[in-house]
């Protein structure tokens, strides 16, 4: 394929990936990796390197677009990030000793199973307000954000221990499989910690950037971050993330959860297909 066509294809796909990723709190690898490997015939290692670029670009691009509408909960994100980064390092260290195929099959299956509780609360706009107690109270894991119509939404986090355990698993998966595992982060915050959906996706967005930055140095030094791929991916994602963020701040939590459920199903299928060796 000629350079200009390669650039344009990847740029346009990345705009879509950035928009979707910034809405549901994932890194965009879901779209970028198969476009590169299946459609453009690029080596999987370069595709994973591109996925790291796409995760950081989604995270920072969305954050830069939000300056006015603060939905991200920095406290909850930072608290959970201790577990995610630890998990990611352990995962990267033991990756060589485990079979990626089996891991992909297990993770894909977990995602499919988690569709059940997610679909059960598909129509829930705001979680019923939880009592702030225990560790969540000690760390003051609560917050509020203002909807576009001016309503102030207050919420308290619950089950911080479960959330932390979920994030350790999310980090392990990131380190082991080289994927962002934003889906698992959103699930932990939505199902275990009972945060409003938009708080879960934007906080996941913050976290995936930090986790990806932790491993990006290794991929870059190895030569897995190919500049010909990096340029259209980074530029497309930054533009897409800005578009997605503008949609997100106006969207209903139920709409975001519906889009997330579809993305979750697609990630699960992609992982299982990969595990089956196609």
């Amino acid at each position: 394929m000629i350079v200009i066509l390669f650039f344009l294809t990847l740029f346009i796909a990345s705009i879509a990936a950035g928009a979707l990723g910034s809405i549901v709190g994932i890194g965009g690898g879901l779209i970028v990796i198969p476009i590169l490997t299946l459609f453009l015939g690029v080596d999987i290692h370069y595709a994973i390197g591109a996925s790291i670029v796409s995760i950081i670009a989604t995270s920072s691009g969305a954050a830069a677009a939000y300056v006015k509408d603060r939905i991200t909960n920095l406290r909850i994100g930072m608290f959970l990030e201790t577990a995610t980064t630890t998990g990611a390092i352990i995962g990267a260290a033991i990756a060589a000793y485990l079979s990626a195929t089996i891991l992909e099959a297990i993770f894909g299956t977990i995602l499919i199973i988690s569709l059940v509780p997610l679909v059960r609360k598909i129509g829930e706009e705001y979680p019923t307000k939880q009592e702030l107690k225990g560790l969540a109270k000690k760390l003051n894991l609560q917050g509020d954000y203002v909807e576009r119509d001016g309503r102030k939404i207050e919420y308290n986090a619950t089950n911080p221990g479960k959330g932390l355990a979920g994030m350790l698993v999310a980090g392990l998966i990131s380190g082991l499989l080289g994927i962002g595992s934003g889906t698992f982060k959103v699930l932990s915050m939505d199902l275990a910690m009972k945060l409003p959906m938009k708080v879960s996706t934007t906080t996941s967005n913050f976290m995936i950037g930090v986790t990806a930055a932790a491993s990006a140095g290794i991929y870059f030094a190895r030569g897995d971050v190919n500049p010909l791929i990096t340029a259209p991916v980074a530029l497309g994602i930054l533009i897409g993330a800005s578009i997605g963020t503008h949609f997100l701040v106006r969207a209903k939590n139920t709409a975001v959860r519906k889009i997330f459920a579809l993305v979750l199903a697609a990630s699960a299928i992609e992982l299982i297909i990969r595990a089956l060796g196609f």
């Binding site: 453009l40 370069y46 920072s60 990030e81 990267a92 930090v210 930055a213 932790a214 030569g223 990096t230």
Partner: protein, 128 residues
């Protein structure tokens, strides 16, 4: 402080996007009809796996000769710095709020982040 964090993020993102766009424009201007296969070779036996600059020395020497791939790599490094700066600035944010617990938590995240960025590439266990 929250506003400073927002401004720093925005400047970082615009700067990195701008630098990458310059590199991409330079490359496309001269190579738009090249076949991509020459640039997408992956050599599993060699470190680095591709034939583009990955060390700070080769990137900076490439910048002097306006090598598009060095410029794109520089833009990527700026992008990579944004989440790290975000965590570092949050540390000051929590310190200003006198939230000691969160200063510790954020310092832990920053330490793990710097450890994995600086130390892990040197540990054979992490080099697959």
């Amino acid at each position: 402080m929250n506003r400073i964090l927002g401004i720093v993020l925005r400047v970082g993102v615009l700067l990195s996007g701008g630098v990458i766009a310059i590199g991409a424009a330079l490359f496309v201007a001269n190579h738009s009809l090249d076949d991509t296969s020459a640039y997408l070779q992956y050599n599993p036996g060699l470190i680095p796996h591709g034939n583009f600059p990955v060390s700070l020395a080769s990137i900076s020497s490439g910048l002097l000769s306006l090598n598009p791939f060095s410029i794109i790599a520089l833009g990527f490094l700026v992008l990579l710095a944004t989440p790290i700066v975000r965590v570092a600035l949050s540390l000051f944010l929590f310190a200003a709020e006198k939230d000691r617990m969160f200063v510790y938590l954020t310092a832990t995240v920053l330490a793990i982040l710097l450890f994995s960025m600086l130390a892990t590439p040197l540990i054979p266990l992490f080099n697959g």
